[in-house]
Symmetry: C2
DNA sequence: ACAAGTACTTACCCTAAAGTATGTATATAT
DNA sequence: ATATATACATACTTTAGGGTAAGTACTTGT
């Protein structure tokens, strides 16, 4: 998407993380500001591009497709385009993407516990 | 830690996310490149600062304490300093931090499934 | 004729996060 | 006297990610 300077330390670190830390491996797939939100919205079923756009009103179109493309490239979502005009494109979770739902769920559980005062974060 | 420009759009978005999306709320606590790795290492028990440093050889000291301070400020880890010299400082997960372990675990499970070929990401 | 809706693309800018390098204080070991 | 270990701090630079704004192509509705 954006050109990557192969020599940068952060890229080397990403290599390290991929081999050494499973958690960071996941963060690389679902990290990025909007990705978890997108996955969350796709967890309830297929969505058209425009449906996602309306469901997440504060995301810009650039960010939305950029992340959708990345998620697709990472094999987490499947893009289906019907050859009609105006375009009709739906996105849905792949099996791998569905496999991330327990992660999403565990996150949501924690967040709700925080809101319910089960944990106090100060 | 770093001064924040209150008017920036990303800050408005963070507000939005906090109220609207539990998943993003979590990502703000444990997002950041090294945080999940640190939590992962603390999940097996208390660690001294220097132990963490050795356990995660590619992290710079600046990043390590910066994230430890943030995790502490967010109420996820507890810092304990014994008044001796040379310093003896241990970090451990708080209850809230321990509450994130299912998230970490779900992530690790997914990563291992990917490695075992349960999902194919291409 | 013109606006609106579809799903994007692209050029440019700005900032937050990460990295580099160096410094601090105190005590023990050599 | 010097080095090492502890746990940081801080000034400066780089980079990756996100944001802004505009444009594309094609069709239906008014």
């Amino acid at each position: 998407m954006t050109a990557i300077k192969e020599t940068s330390t952060i890229q080397e670190n990403k290599q390290y993380a991929l081999e050494k830390c499973p958690v960071t491996f996941v963060m690389e797939k679902m990290g990025g500001y909007w990705k978890p939100i997108i996955l969350y919205h796709l967890s309830t079923g297929d969505k058209r591009y425009s449906e996602l756009k309306r469901a997440i009103p504060t995301v810009t179109e650039k960010m939305l497709i950029q992340h959708l493309k990345q998620l697709e490239a990472d094999g987490l979502v499947i893009r289906e385009a019907r050859p009609v005009v105006p375009p009709f494109v739906t996105y849905r979770l792949s099996d791998a993407g569905k496999g991330l739902l327990p992660v999403i769920q565990a996150m949501a559980d924690w967040a709700f516990k925080v809101k319910d005062g089960v944990y106090n974060l100060q």
